[in-house]
Symmetry: C2
Subunit: 209 residues, 2 copies
């Protein structure tokens, strides 16, 4: 199993390759991908080699073939279904995001406790919470996004586990707890990200210390 940061790099290589493809490039060198993503060329080659992705000596990588292989690793070779729980600002943003359309990520529904958010007719409909389990099972949804306030997040998490969700992206600033070791949780704490930015700005301004 690879580290989180290695997989993040693969995503960036994929995005860079997509950009080059859209400029009608047919092949790409480790060097190009390195420049585009800010790593070294040998890092690119090492990352690829760890996933059995290979190119041609002197000839670089065929972009189409490379994209096929990267997409496979990143699970973008088949549709990945998501639901969003909590259709507030963040949840609504995820549901509306047009960028997912061309990727294999699809947000199939939202769930909320606030009746004013319900909408069965929309492209990505919003349902009441008590329909969550049935929906997940019938539609074989594997992923959930938690975008409810912090105090509701643990409860929502447990519902998602019960419904059979396999992976959760959590926006709430709490550490979700579970004894189920099968579920994968990734946290996205915006305040922590902001603190990180502040730190690096401050230490740049004042390099001593």
């Amino acid at each position: 199993m690879s580290s989180r940061s290695r997989i993040l790099r693969l995503s960036r290589y994929k995005n860079a390759a997509l950009r080059l493809k859209s400029l009608n490039f047919l092949k790409v060198f480790s060097d190009n991908l390195a420049d585009a993503t800010g790593v070294t060329a040998s890092q690119v080659r090492k990352d690829f080699s760890l996933f059995g992705i290979s190119g041609n000596r002197r000839g670089g990588y065929q972009i189409d073939e490379l994209l096929t292989q990267l997409n496979k690793v990143l699970g973008k070779d088949k549709l990945q279904k998501f639901i969003v729980v909590g259709v507030g600002n963040m949840g609504r943003g995820m549901i509306n995001y047009p960028g997912f359309i061309k990727s294999e990520i699809k947000i199939v529904a939202g769930f909320d406790i606030d009746p004013s958010k319900y909408n069965r007719k929309a492209d990505a409909p919003v349902f009441p919470m008590d329909e969550l389990t049935a929906f997940v099972k019938t539609n074989e949804v594997e992923f959930g996004i938690i975008a409810v306030p912090d105090f509701a997040a643990q409860e929502v998490f447990e519902r998602l586990i019960q419904a059979g969700i396999k992976g959760v992206l959590n926006f709430a600033p709490i550490r979700l707890k579970s004894d189920n070791t099968d579920i994968v949780v990734h946290n996205l704490n915006l305040e922590t990200e902001i603190e990180n930015l502040i730190y690096f700005v401050n230490t740049k301004v004042n390099p001593a210390e």
Copy 2:
């Protein structure tokens, strides 16, 4: 200078300490913080030691003192002003987020090109783009959040640099370019985060390979 992940851990220690403080704890051990954040106790102590944060042998860390020191490192000992550019779903979410109130992070204004978003009266007002530079200078704003569509992000970035912004949190899925080495940019690409989650769910399900 410390690595990004070390600083992220410091934020988590701070949050864990805050939680314990709210439960009326007066002191905390490296062990407690380790459990709360999912790292080892010696990692906690090593992180602290690198920032000159020290406790008492056998007595652990005084929570109040620890929080003072962590807040200092993380720049939470003084008000940090932010503006948000692009008051769509993400931007609105950041502006409305109540969690920043008790922290020293303040979103002082939003900026947009869409006149329907303008609102000079709100608690965090929203202004047209051509007032950005003047606002940043008069109010000595150091940080900016880019939450505009991808095609507008580079242009907005350059405006922020010109206005004198020091740190940028970028939600747009592009690599911002600048020859100004003073500005710090952190990217938050939600699609990349989702791909990462998908990968770890997939490899968990199918551990062979």
